[in-house]
Structures are given as structure tokens and as C-alpha cells.
């Protein structure tokens, strides 16, 4: 698709000067543009925009006050707070540990490195409910290692850390591979120790990748359901996360409450993505200014 559009766009400005039938060519390219734009709009509408609009409308089924009451209900608010808090902690943990893992995978040589590298993607490939069972069997009741995280916020964090592990690792890894080792040696020759070199020379290069990986991990954790459903315990005001609260509200036939909290989640995710885009755009701007 993009190739066709690209050809049309490249052909049309030069076309009037060279080809005998400039109009028809430009027209053909124009029709393709219209068609692709139409398909994209239709698809986004059917899959993303219309359902979201329907959800938003449903959440206002009892008017603005109903929406507000649903979102600020103590249990709902507690669920949202738990979700955001645990997700933020998990994102921060991922930023540190994920960067460290990426560093080890890129810079160190050890037996079984390829195996570990492949292992990173496992949380992506595994159905999240399987993750929940796996974690429950280790950290649940009758834990073989004597660590019971069942129905605690620690349990939530472990589950969310498990499913969001790949984000930071996989976004930092390729950037780190490209980092010029000469630059670190130059810093060393100028007197910088390892930590100073990392902080002042390497980290600024990795920062955009770390931030975007952390943001994606956060956004994923906000909406996670499957991996927390068993180990979380679903205790209202303690370990119940927003997605579980929504499920519960549907089950007790309160669709407006479910929709309202969903919209709240939607807004949080959307703002997170917007902030990420803004950071990325700022980084790009700096690169463009540099180029």
C-alpha cells in the first residue's frame, strides 16, 4: 500500500512537465490516495474509534453526575489508585532492571547467553493466565520456597513485572549495540570513572529508549488482567485492580460503572502515550537541530 502511495506522490509533481497525459496520471494517483485514506479511516473507525465512542457514551448513561459518582466511588477509586501505583512501581523497576539486563546481554559474554536472550520474550508469547498460574504455583499458598505473595500488592507487582519484562530490555538493547565504544574510552581518557562515564555519556544516549520502554511497560501494566487474576486475590480496596473491578461491575450488572472506570483507564493510557510521543518528538527535534 505505502509503495503505491509513495509512487503516486513522487510521480505527480513531475508529471505535468514530462508526460503527455498529466491529468489522468495525477487523477489515478489521487484516487489511490483517496481509496487508501478511506480504508484506513474505515478500519480505525470500526476497530478503534467507534467502540471507544460507544464506551464513552455508555459511561455517560446516567449523565455527568452518574459518571463522576461511578469513577469516584471509593472502591472504584481504590482500584484505579492500586492500578496506577503498582504499574508505576513496576515501570520504574523495569527501567532499572531492564536496562541492566540489556547491558549484560549486549556487553557481557557468558555461557547460555542466547538462551537467556530468547527467554526475555517468553512473557510476550505466554498467555497471561498461564503466567498467573506459574506465579501462583511458586508464590501462592503452600509456596515451595516459603514466599507467599498471594493476594498482596507484592504479588501484583511480581505478576506485572513478569509480563512487562521485555519492553525496556527490547527497546534498550538495539540502541546499546549501536553505542560507539570509542566514546566511552574517550571519557575514560579524560578522567571519567565507570559510573561517571555511564551517567554522563552512555545514559543520555540510552534515555529515549529507556523512557519509551518504561512508558510502554506502564501502559501495558495499567490494562493487565490475565496475569493478576489469580495471584492478585481481587480484594477490593487492597489488591483489586481496575480491570478486575470492571469485570466485577459487569458481573453484577452495573454496565455504566464498568464503562466509566474503563474511560478513566482509557484517559490514563492515552495521556501516557501522548507524553511518550512528546518526549520522542523532543528527542527527534534535538537530533534534527543537530543534523
Amino acid at each position: 500500500m505505502t509503495a503505491v502511495v509513495g509512487q503516486g506522490a513522487a510521480g505527480s509533481p513531475a508529471a505535468p512537465a514530462r508526460t503527455p497525459q498529466p491529468r489522468s496520471r495525477a487523477g489515478w494517483a489521487g484516487r489511490v490516495n483517496g481509496l487508501t485514506l478511506g480504508v484506513v479511516t474505515l478500519w480505525l473507525s470500526l476497530i478503534v474509534l467507534l467502540p471507544l465512542a460507544a464506551l464513552t457514551v455508555a459511561s455517560f448513561g446516567d449523565g455527568w453526575s452518574g459518571f463522576w459518582a461511578a469513577v469516584t466511588a471509593p472502591v472504584a477509586l481504590a482500584a484505579l489508585w492500586t492500578t496506577v501505583l503498582v504499574s508505576a512501581v513496576v515501570a520504574v523497576v523495569n527501567v532499572v532492571v531492564g536496562t541492566l539486563i540489556a547491558w549484560v546481554l549486549v556487553r557481557d559474554e557468558f555461557p547460555g547467553k542466547r538462551f537467556v536472550d530468547a527467554l526475555i520474550d517468553l512473557p510476550f508469547a505466554l498467555p497471561t493466565i498461564v503466567a498467573s498460574i506459574v506465579l501462583l504455583s511458586l508464590y501462592g499458598p503452600n509456596s515451595p520456597i516459603g514466599v507467599e505473595l498471594n493476594a498482596t500488592r507484592w504479588g501484583l507487582m511480581v505478576a506485572l513485572a513478569f509480563v512487562t519484562l521485555p519492553f525496556v530490555v527490547r527497546s534498550v538493547q538495539p540502541v546499546l549495540i549501536e553505542v560507539d565504544r570509542d566514546v566511552e574510552q574517550a571519557a575514560a581518557s579524560l578522567g571519567a570513572g565507570n559510573w561517571t562515564t555511564f551517567r554522563r555519556v552512555v545514559l543520555p544516549t540510552l534515555a529515549p529508549a529507556i523512557i519509551s520502554g518504561g512508558g510502554l511497560a506502564f501502559a501495558r501494566a495499567i490494562g493487565e488482567y490475565g496475569s493478576v487474576v489469580l495471584i492478585g486475590g481481587n480484594i477490593p480496596r487492597e489488591t483489586q485492580v481496575a480491570s478486575q473491578y470492571i469485570q466485577q461491575q459487569i458481573e453484577i450488572d452495573r454496565p455504566v460503572n464498568a464503562a466509566a472506570v474503563s474511560v478513566a483507564l482509557l484517559v490514563i493510557s492515552f495521556v501516557t502515550l501522548l507524553v511518550l510521543r512528546w518526549i520522542a518528538a523532543r528527542g527527534q527535534e534535538r537530533e534534527e537541530r543537530a543534523a
Binding site: D180, D182, V183, Q185, A186, A187, A188, S189, L190, G191, A192, G193, T196, R200, V201, P204, T205, R286, E287, R289, A290, A291
Partner: protein
């Protein structure tokens, strides 16, 4: 002064440095010259501490630094591909070493401005490395290395990534800079012209060993072995001997050639002219050994070529006026006289 003693370094079975000892005098500009894989970069990096030696010692200004990390060796290092801190402005790049040393802001600012002035980048303070040309980036890297007042400045193929014109300008500039700053400088290069152009001293390396160490003139005029001779300048081989092409005398008469040769104690080679190439005031005569069929060439001045009146296919007798190891340079060839210089312009 930098002293390297009995340095050894291997990568697996490959010997990068094989018992290298070298004394680099203070304040000099020394080139480490050699083909790739000769160990010249390894030697430089060992002096910097970026590479650990398997055996041997490195002393800088009388201090044994063999076990010290690069941070504590008092060095400045310049890399072939600049190694610029891309996310920092030119000013911050140059200030890096000083800010690590926690110098007062005002002092850093003064020193950075002074250095940018020295390297001709005043007014570029707020640019980023990506906004500079290759030559400018390398000058920034030099300023950054000089900012910390290093005892020695180490340059690893500093002009290797630049195009020919910039490279020539920059190496002359480096020479002038060195004459002003006087910091002991070691430069790694594979380009013999570059080494001859900038260095006070040249160490020629080959296969992890130092073949010869001396002034450019010494190395050119009295090469220690065929490798050094052929690496610094062109050579012609005839009868198993090597000589500089401009040290070959072409003679049209056999009797005269043999008379001259027997008095000088050398052999005469019988050759045929294959091609004449006029390069400004030089004429390159491509020859072929009549009996062995080996090609070689001689360099004559225009005057000599005109006097000989050579044509393609002519038979000549060649005798070297000087070969490797013989120091009996007989000044048989006349220098071009003043009157002939206008002809060079043509």
C-alpha cells in the same frame, strides 16, 4: 618522555606486540608507522592504558603507569572516528575533562574559550558535533584532549576518516599546533607521507616489532632493512638489490657503464625502455630487465631525460648509485638549474 620496555601483547595466536621497546623523547612528535596489523595501534593503546600488556612496562614522565587505568595516566587521546559526545555541545565536549575534575566554572569557561580559539573553533561553542564537518570534529576532539593538560597526547589515525584535502591541511595545522603547545605527541598512521610530513621521529612497525626508529631523514636515507626502505618511498628491484628509483643511473654506452660500475664495485643491468611518463619536472622511465624480463622503473629529472634523449624501445645500461646498506652516494646527477624551472609550469 614515554618509555615502553619489552612489551608483549597477543590476541590468541596473533602477536600484536612482540618484545617492543621504545623511548619517545619529551616534547617530540613521534609517528608510529606501519601497515595494518603491524601493532602500531595496539602500542598506542597500551601507552594510553586502553589495552593491557601481557608483559612489559610503560613509563610516562618517569612514572611506571603499567598498572594504572587510563583515567590516571595523564593522557589525551584522539580517535580516528572522533568519538564526540553527540548529545553535548562543542563547549561541553571540550569542558568534559575539566568538569570531571570539578574545576570552578569561570576557569572552565576561560580554558574552553582559549582552546577553541587555538583549534580555530571560536564561535562554534553552541553547536553540536553533528553540525560540524569531519575536520572540525577532529579539531574539537583535539581541544577536548588538550583541555586536561595531558602529559602526552596520543592520536590514533587522527586524519584517517577525512578526505585528502582536509587531511593535508589538518596535518600541517597539527604540526604548527605542536610547535606552539609542545606536548609530547604520538601519532599512529599507515600513511608514510603523513609520517614524513609531521613527525620528528618515526618508529616503523611490522608484525608486532619495531623495524627502525629514527628521524624521517635517517629512515629515508639509511633504512635499516628492505621493509623500511620499501615502506618509506618507492623502490626498484634489480638483480636482487633494492634501490630508490632516483638512485638509478641510466647510461647509453655499455663501455662507459661498465667502466663506471667496476670503479664503484656494482653490477650493471641491461634493460629496455618500455614507457616514458612525464610527471612535472620528473620523468619516470619504465624499464624491463633484458635477460630476466623483470619490470622496474627509474626516476630522472627532465634535464637528465633530455640529455639521454630516450625513446621507447631503446636499450640502456643501468647502475645503482646507491643501494640499501651502501652509503657511498656519489653525486652523479645534477640538480635542475634555475633556468629550467620555467619549464615546470608547462
Amino acid at each position: 618522555m614515554i618509555t615502553v620496555a619489552a612489551a608483549h601483547k597477543s590476541y590468541g595466536t596473533f602477536k600484536a606486540l612482540d618484545d617492543v621497546s621504545l623511548e619517545i623523547p619529551s616534547g617530540s612528535l613521534t609517528a608510529l608507522l606501519g601497515p595494518s596489523g603491524s601493532g602500531k595501534s595496539t602500542l598506542l593503546r597500551a601507552i594510553a592504558g586502553l589495552e593491557d600488556l601481557d608483559a612489559g612496562t610503560v613509563m610516562i614522565a618517569g612514572q611506571d603507569v603499567t598498572r594504572l587505568p587510563p583515567q590516571r595516566r595523564g593522557i589525551g587521546f584522539v580517535f580516528q572516528h572522533y568519538a564526540a559526545f553527540k548529545h553535548m555541545s562543542v563547549r561541553d565536549n571540550v569542558a568534559f575533562g575539566l568538569s570531571i575534575r570539578k574545576r570552578p566554572r569561570a576557569e572552565i569557561a576561560t580554558r574552553v574559550d582559549e582552546l577553541l580559539d587555538v583549534v580555530g573553533l571560536a564561535g562554534f561553542q553552541h553547536r553540536y558535533p553533528a553540525q560540524l564537518s569531519g575536520g572540525q570534529r577532529q579539531r574539537m576532539a583535539l581541544a577536548r584532549a588538550l583541555a586536561v593538560d595531558p602529559q602526552v597526547l596520543l592520536l590514533d589515525e587522527p586524519f584517517g576518516a577525512l578526505d585528502a584535502k582536509v587531511r593535508d591541511d589538518l596535518r600541517r595545522w597539527l604540526r604548527r599546533l605542536h610547535d606552539e603547545v609542545h606536548v609530547t605527541t604520538v601519532l599512529v598512521t599507515h600513511d608514510q607521507e603523513e609520517a614524513l610530513d609531521v613527525a620528528d621521529q618515526i618508529a616503523v612497525l611490522n608484525e608486532g616489532r619495531i623495524e627502525q626508529f629514527g628521524s624521517p631523514e635517517e629512515l629515508y636515507e639509511r633504512p635499516a632493512n628492505p621493509f623500511v626502505m620499501s615502506f618509506l618511498g618507492s623502490v626498484s628491484r634489480l638483480n636482487g638489490e633494492i634501490a630508490r628509483p632516483h638512485d638509478l643511473r641510466l647510461i647509453r654506452s655499455r663501455q662507459q657503464a661498465e667502466a663506471e660500475a667496476s670503479s664503484a664495485g656494482v653490477r650493471v643491468t641491461d634493460a629496455t625502455v618500455e614507457r616514458l611518463v612525464r610527471l612535472g619536472f620528473e620523468v619516470r622511465v619504465e624499464l624491463r630487465h633484458t635477460s630476466t624480463g623483470e619490470p622496474f622503473f627509474a626516476q630522472l629529472t627532465r634535464t637528465e631525460a633530455t640529455a639521454l634523449d630516450l625513446q621507447v624501445g631503446d636499450r640502456v645500461w643501468v647502475r645503482p648509485t646507491r643501494t640499501l646498506g651502501s652509503d657511498q652516494a656519489a653525486p652523479v646527477r645534477a640538480l635542475p638549474t634555475e633556468e629550467e624551472f620555467p619549464a615546470l609550469a608547462v
